[in-house]
């Protein structure tokens, strides 16, 4: 079988077929890599229990369902799922009682009047917390800092335990001096899960000095440990099992220190402990002596069942959500007291954390020596990830392999990188403080020559100064850390400068020289771009240079104009923005002014009134009738045939008909052509709609004299009458007509009307005699 994260993930979720599941289980027996990966997956699954939960009250649910129409006003709310478990409290360090206390501690003190339902009884002894057993390590449960009231009640793994059952006042360790503890330290009873199966729960006291002393002697680790405070020492079965690998034989009488996760403890002082990483490597903990006696038969070791679905368990079964804090996670990690904000100890604090997010296949070396890449048998997932492959480096499992294959590092890789960064920074600061005045390093007495550093320098700086090699350290890279710590004095090795982790220390002189001599990357990296046909035609003739014929966007005489413009735009972006805004504002002002003037100005003349005009008031004027747009005008000047003039001695009083709208064109003609008419009078009248009527009265003719009206300019109306004459006609003025002149030559009368404003000749028609005057024929010109 192939090691596969996909298979492990499906196995963890119990989504495999029985055959495949059995195959994976068989594989897990012999593959420690997959076992660790599976364990890692389980831990990640448990981490999601730290996420907060949202609860919707019943009344809100009822209202919402009624809003959706799923529930009537009088209907009762269907039964709801039990309330989710309480999420952890605020993010305080757990040793201060915050953070992931709800996860690490399976029980918590509650004053809930309704105790949760108890799980079914088992065959375990009477102690309430033997039902849940963590085979992976010791789980430290609860430390209360306050004295509970009388009705104090513990809810432990789904059971209600009276407050009297758990002793809350720990006793001091006999014979051990107890240092004064700060106020913010948690004092209280600590019960060991899995221990109570064969021994009584004993109150223990968490004291930093006693903890440190106990386990340092036993394991060689500088890790706070826990010492039992009762008369009868504890026998942490899980710790013994995990440390020794032997499940049976744990003795209750063996006074072994119990390693507890140190994050529930106050951090040790920083200053005295900083040289700890610089110390020689810490050896792995020696195996604990095997337990003296076998375990009682009544307390068999049980493995923790795999997590089941949510519906299969109650919300009080906090064991499915509460991740166990295992003593083996941070075992021997001197940095593990660093504050963390997550209840579960991250694996990255105990081993290297390679960057698999960018390119996992490149980051993980192949075991076969082949170049990194996808192997032939790799099954590529839909999103491009290698999901199942034989011997394919798995980013999730390989770090675990490295962790398992190698003994515990004295200083873990992550810590090395962090420390290296700090050292780089310190060295850079030190060099810059020394100055670059051209002095020879060997002749300059610095701090590393026995001179004590100033007090302002930190401890790390002082240590570095003390360890620096005076003559050669400033320019040559330091030696690789052969012992896992910092380079020793004078231990530089010039043969392997690249292998040393101190190669990251910047050497300012070299960097400056390299920067000065290295050509610009842009000039080198800009390869020839394939020009298009237009660019190629231009580039062959317009530019002779290194990039001739292979023009790109930045070559050529004006090729870098866009770049320059973009740089300029970036440089003066604000100025351009302001200018653009001003331009837009000016455009708006001009537009608004035009609109206002257009509204307030007199009505622009149509083409009929603007023939040959060049006035600004007639922007659509056109001198050529053939070029007139007729979109807004009626085509042609077909005058509606007016009634034939009726000559009678007794004029019949007929109402003045409404003039038929005549199409407005440049030159309008009226009348079919008559003769013998005499223009008797010219009258003006203003109509209710504001139009001015010019009425010409005719007498003594036949037919209708042909009348042609046109505008010589926007305020001058020319009327030519053919087939009519006049005898001493002196037309007056009226309305907008400021001047009227009539001249005759033969049978043609030409009349010129000067107008006070530009108007339009809307209509013109002949009408017969009416009752208002004795003339038989009238020509009405409607100006408006």
């Amino acid at each position: 079988m192939k090691c596969s994260l996909l298979a492990l993930s499906s196995y963890l979720d119990d989504e495999l077929e029985p055959g495949r599941r059995a195959e994976i289980e068989a594989h897990l027996v012999g593959c420690e890599r997959c076992r660790k990966g599976l364990e890692c997956l389980r831990e990640e699954t448990e981490r999601f229990g730290a996420l907060g939960r949202v609860h919707v009250p019943d009344d809100a649910v009822s209202g919402f369902l009624q809003q959706l129409g799923l529930l009537g006003p009088g209907d009762t709310l269907p039964p709801r799922a039990p309330r989710p478990p309480d999420p952890p409290g605020p993010e305080l360090p757990r040793w201060r009682g915050g953070g992931g206390a709800a996860e690490t501690l399976p029980w918590s003190a509650r004053h809930d009047p309704q105790p949760p339902p108890a799980p079914p009884e088992s065959d375990q002894p009477s102690l309430p917390f033997v039902d849940v057993f963590s085979p992976s390590g010791v789980t430290v449960m609860g430390a209360s800092t306050e004295q509970p009231p009388d009705d104090y009640e513990l809810q432990l793994n789904g059971r209600s335990v009276p407050g009297s059952a758990a002793p809350l006042s720990p006793e001091a360790v006999p014979g051990a001096p107890e240092p004064p503890a700060p106020d913010h330290w948690s004092h209280g009873s600590v019960a060991l899960e899995g221990v109570g199966a064969w021994s009584t729960v004993h109150p223990v006291r968490v004291t930093p000095s006693g903890l440190e002393a106990a386990t340092s002697e036993a394991t060689g680790f500088d890790v706070p440990t826990l010492r039992a405070a009762g008369d009868e020492p504890l026998a942490p079965k899980a710790a013994v099992v995990e440390a020794t690998g032997i499940e049976a034989g744990a003795s209750a009488a063996t006074p072994e220190p119990v390693v507890i996760p140190e994050d529930i403890l106050p951090p040790p002082p920083l200053a005295p402990s900083w040289p700890a990483p610089l110390a020689p490597p810490v050896h792995p903990p020696p195996p604990l002596p095997p337990p003296a006696g076998p375990l009682p038969a009544s307390a068999p070791l049980r493995s923790q069942p795999p997590p089941t679905r949510l519906g299969d368990q109650t919300w009080l079964d906090s064991g499915s959500f509460a991740p166990r804090v295992r003593a083996s996670d941070d075992e021997g990690d001197p940095w593990s007291w660093a504050p963390r904000d997550d209840p579960v100890p991250p694996q990255s604090r105990t081993h290297a954390a390679p960057d698999f997010a960018t390119d996992p296949l490149r980051s993980v070396p192949d075991g076969t020596g082949a170049p990194p890449g996808r192997s032939s048998g790799a099954e590529v997932a839909s999103d491009g990830d290698v999901a199942d492959a034989d011997a394919t480096p798995d980013p999730l499992i390989d770090p675990l392999i490295a962790r398992v294959a190698e003994p515990p590092q004295p200083v873990r890789a992550t810590l090395i990188s962090r420390l290296r960064d700090q050292v780089s920074l310190r060295l850079a600061l030190m060099r810059s403080a020394d100055g670059d005045d051209g002095r020879t390093p060997g002749t300059v007495p610095g701090w590393g020559h026995g001179v004590s550093p100033p007090e302002s320098a930190g401890l790390l700086t002082a240590a570095l100064r003390a360890r620096m090699d005076p003559p050669a350290e400033m320019d040559a890279p330091a030696a690789p850390p052969t012992s896992g710590g910092l380079p020793t004095r004078g231990g530089h090795d010039t043969e392997h400068p690249a292998a040393t982790p101190w190669s990251a220390v910047p050497l300012f002189e070299s960097a400056a020289i390299a920067e000065a001599t290295t050509p610009r990357v842009r000039d080198l990296d800009r390869g020839p771009a394939k020009p298009g046909r237009h660019t190629r035609q231009l580039g062959d003739h317009r530019w002779i240079g290194p990039s001739a014929g292979k023009l790109d966007s930045a070559s050529g005489r004006f090729g870098d104009v866009p770049d320059r413009l973009s740089r300029l735009a970036r440089q003066f972006r604000r100025r351009y923005v302001v200018l653009a805004m001003l331009a837009i504002l000016a455009l708006l002002v001009v537009t608004v002014s035009l609109v206002v003037n257009h509204i307030g100005a007199p009505t622009p003349l149509p083409l009929a009134a603007n023939t040959g005009a060049s006035s600004r008031a007639a922007p659509l004027a056109s001198g050529t009738p053939a070029l007139q747009p007729v979109t807004a005008l009626q085509p042609s000047a077909s005058v509606a045939p007016s009634a034939a003039p009726t000559v009678s001695a007794t004029p019949v009083p007929t109402p003045l008909p409404t003039p038929v709208p005549t199409p407005v064109v440049a030159t309008q003609s009226f009348g079919s052509g008559g003769s013998g008419w005499t223009v008797e009078d010219v009258r003006y009248g203003t109509q209710p709609n504001g139009d001015l009527w010019i009425v010409l009265d005719f007498s003594g003719g036949s037919g209708e004299p042909k009348a042609t009206a046109s505008f010589s300019d926007p305020t001058t109306l020319d009327v030519t009458l053919t087939g009519a004459g006049e005898s001493g006609l002196s037309p007056g003025t009226g309305g907008i007509v400021t001047k009227a002149v009539a001249t005759s030559s033969g049978s043609t009368v030409k009349m010129v009307f000067d107008l006070s404003k530009a108007v339009t000749l809307k209509n013109g028609s002949y009408t017969p005699q009416d009752s208002s005057n004795p003339y038989p024929l009238h020509l009405i010109l409607d100006l408006g």
Binding site: V54, A60, R340, A357
Partner: protein, 174 residues
């Protein structure tokens, strides 16, 4: 043979019971999917509204997946219920949330623990797959229905999400 019972439309009572049963999980899921508890209420309500409008034929069989699918889709598209007004009216008219919720143990939005920070770095589909499995405890076929993909693709999404989450978590949990 045609399963006649499968084509019987679901009653409103059945769907109301389903919604009432999973409402807390749906809002919690939406809150962690979008990273905003306030918006999660409206998004979850929009998904439930859509699912109530187009209920699945077999409520008891795939009703849960349909609910999560609708909520996932609402979170993906940003659809809210009641819908927010468009135009300038949204500046002074704020629709009331259809659900009044309470957050257990503090507000979800402000508690940015490491898990949430690592979760927010994942793509939407992977984040949804992780939450559907680890928070809502759905099976792979149900996750596939919720994410509108095949069960195989859902399993691959989940495996890839776990790997990426592990990598990110290790990076930021220092």
């Amino acid at each position: 043979m045609i399963n006649v019972a499968a084509n019987v439309p679901a009653t409103s009572g059945e769907f109301a019971e389903l919604v009432s049963e999973h409402l807390d999980e749906l809002v919690t899921y939406a809150a962690h999917l979008v990273g905003d508890a306030d918006s999660a209420v409206e998004l979850a309500a929009a998904g439930i509204f859509h699912a109530a409008k187009y209920p699945p034929a077999r409520v008891r069989v795939d009703g849960t997946a349909a609910l999560y699918r609708a909520v996932t889709r609402a979170c993906r598209t940003g659809e809210r219920f009641p819908p927010r007004p468009h135009g300038p009216a949204r500046l002074w008219r704020r629709s009331r949330a259809s659900l009044q919720t309470e957050f257990r143990g503090g507000d979800v939005a402000s508690r940015m623990n490491t898990v949430k920070r690592a979760l927010m770095t994942l793509p939407f589909e992977r984040r949804a797959a992780l939450l559907l499995r680890n928070l809502a405890r759905l099976r792979y076929p149900e996750i596939a229905r919720a994410l509108e993909c095949s069960p195989e693709a859902a399993s691959r999404q989940l495996a890839a999400a776990r790997r990426q989450f592990s990598s990110v978590y290790r990076e930021i949990a220092i």
